[in-house]
């Protein structure tokens, strides 16, 4: 009896919260992709905030996404213990040659000091051709990723460093969606 009441309570609560969380949903126009829509918005809003990510590479060199201005930038957040993340990096490796002139790929590992050698090992063994940044103390990355540690997570920046799109998770077939997204970029 008690558990029935609890379940009813749960269902009512779920509907309420769901309604609250999705109340202001606006259906996107079918003819325009989300990225294109955001691009338009960004153009209108000249004060749109630019994102600059400055960290060290696995080789200990300083790297800033500011140096990639003029190109679209796709930043993939990952960890050595996250299998879908590693799958995404391998898929990006396969796309690298085709898109490298248009889109700069950057990987950012959220691994901590303990597993930083595993990051270098994965990058070297798999011949990842684009820069992989590390943030062993997590002070920079935890501000960007929702929840601080939910990976795979990716951000697409426009040529001025403004966020165009955010991606959560990576499932088989997502590489095709990414290719489509990159093809649509002008």
């Amino acid at each position: 009896m008690k558990s029935k009441k609890l379940i009813s309570l749960f269902i009512v609560f779920s509907f309420f919260m769901f309604a609250c969380a999705t109340a202001k949903t606006v259906k996107p126009k079918k003819t325009e992709t989300k990225v294109q829509k955001t691009q338009k918005k960004v153009k209108k809003n000249s004060n749109a905030e630019q994102m600059i990510l400055s960290l060290e590479t696995t080789d200990g060199e300083k790297f800033s996404t500011e140096s990639l201005r003029g190109k679209y930038v796709y930043i993939s957040f990952w960890a050595t213990w996250c299998e879908p993340c590693k799958e995404e990096l391998k898929q990006l490796r396969e796309m690298y040659d085709k898109y490298k002139d248009k889109v700069a790929f950057v990987g950012v590992s959220i691994d901590t000091e303990d597993t930083i050698d595993k990051v270098s090992e994965f990058v070297t063994d798999n011949a990842i051709p684009f820069p992989i940044l590390v943030d062993p103390e997590g002070n920079t990355v935890s501000k960007i990723i929702p929840g601080g540690d939910t990976v795979p997570y990716a951000i697409l920046l426009d040529k001025n460093g403004v966020i165009l799109k955010k991606h959560e998770g990576f499932a088989p077939g997502d590489e095709e969606k990414l290719k489509k997204e990159f093809d649509e970029l002008k």
């Binding site: 779920s14 919260m17 769901f18 999705t22 799958e87 103390e137 002070n139």
Partner: protein, 570 residues
Amino acid sequence: MKKNLIFIILTLFSLTIFAGTGKKNEVKLKIQSKNKVTIKQDFQRNKTSKKDDFTIFSNQLKLETTYSFFTLGLRKTALVFSGKEKDDTMPNFDYQYSNELFNHGWQNYLDRIYFKTKMKHFSLILGDFYESMNRGLIFSFKNDPAFGDNTIRGTDFKMRLKGFHFKAFGGKANPQVRDISLDERLNETDDYVWGTEVGYKLWKIDLSAQYGGGNFGDYTILEKKTLGNTTQGENISKSFHIIGTSLKINNAIPKSRLYATFNYIPKGEDDYNKIDIMKIGKKELNQSKEKKSDLDGSKAIFATISKWFDFSKNRLTLTTEGKMYDKYFLNYTLMEDSNYKRRYFNPPTLLWQNMPIANEFDTWAVREKIAFRDNFLTKADYSIEFVKGNSLNNEKSLITTANYGRYVKEDFYFGGITLSKQFSSFYINKKYGYYQINTESDKDYTRWHYFYFETGSHYEKISGKLENSLYLKRFKNNGVEEQKGAIEDTVLLYIAYGQHLGFSFINTYWHNDVKDGLDNFYPSGKISFKYKAVTTSLFYGKIKGGWVCEGTCRLVPDFQGFKLELNIDI
């Protein structure tokens, strides 16, 4: 009460700044609210022990305000347990009982608070922060998937000027940690840690020196109790000082990398107090105190070196790793009683994560790995590796109590191969590992074969993933044959439709000749739905318990029942 006051003041402070500056983007306020409701019914546990079905409502509120170089933030957690039996072991568990809707209890605490400032050459944090040095050999405070979000609450100062860097930190270890599996807050510790690092990078060479120290305890191992004329109890405290050095060289020889660290404990001791008092008249007999310098002269060395060769877009990588942890008994299990689950150190292990190692802190091991990326013929990634290790036989240095695991002497071998390939519309990953441990009493008896296969594909909006992990196990523990002809096979099928709907099916097959010799199946299904900030899932079925190893191992009981979960992140 004090904590609540701090919370209110900080919230008001943040909001005041926010309201006061308005239009321009000078002050930013970030509010994040994570809400979760879980209903759990465990039929399996209800059969064997007292009923443990309950619902947890949890709310985690994060507030962060940034102005110029300054950031002020906090995280507050509130948990309401309904239908949960009264649990006196839970700290701050306010319990209310009513016959109406549910009996309930709650916890409410401020688990993060920090003030940060970051300028061009230095940064300062007052409050909670993560810290780690020398690959986890001198502290490892981080957001750990198995042990929770561990921080130090104190001060962290860092400075970087050209090639020079310096840092110093200190504070109370893990003042607020939750048990991940139970969602409950753990007791507060009286553990203090501190450390400093100074280093210089010249050309491709980065050389650093570190100092760290700690003072842990008192930890109660056996609660002090008096029965008649006899009083018994056990407690322990620990203090130590570590010095270390690390060396990083990248590409000094083209396409090569080296990392090496050496750490030494000149002074470290356990203060173990066993109370066993017999009162005869006014006389007290048999109180034993033991001070043991089990860490004096301990050392830990870890090194990894890689060299790679590129030819026609192919890559061959050679990696050698070595470690020697000599009496490095800074293991969390030696600093805790059963109510404390914390990990302050996390030295690198050379084995795959799912391979168990009993004696991690008094051992040496070497690892050789060859990896090959074939971009010409098969367009696949291959690797082969081999690990050999052995104990260093320092068991006499350890204080042994009933709560501490016995010292295990073991020498082990591990061999593994992997293959990974991406096709145009699907991918495959394969792994095979062979692991053999010889302990003193059980020579050549523990053997694990591990096979792993994973593939994923997609068709229009539908994507799918299939995983199979198969273990063949033989295991003897301290002379007792526990597993023979054991098979543990877990199949996972995951299908997603678009971005919103996902379905997973898991079945574990378990067979062990030694126990019942029966074929046991643990099927379960989970359906989940995600829309914007809302994720909801329903799980029903059985989960096999046993030792779950995710970097460290812990014993998890079997589960049979359902779990209904709703997450709302705003």
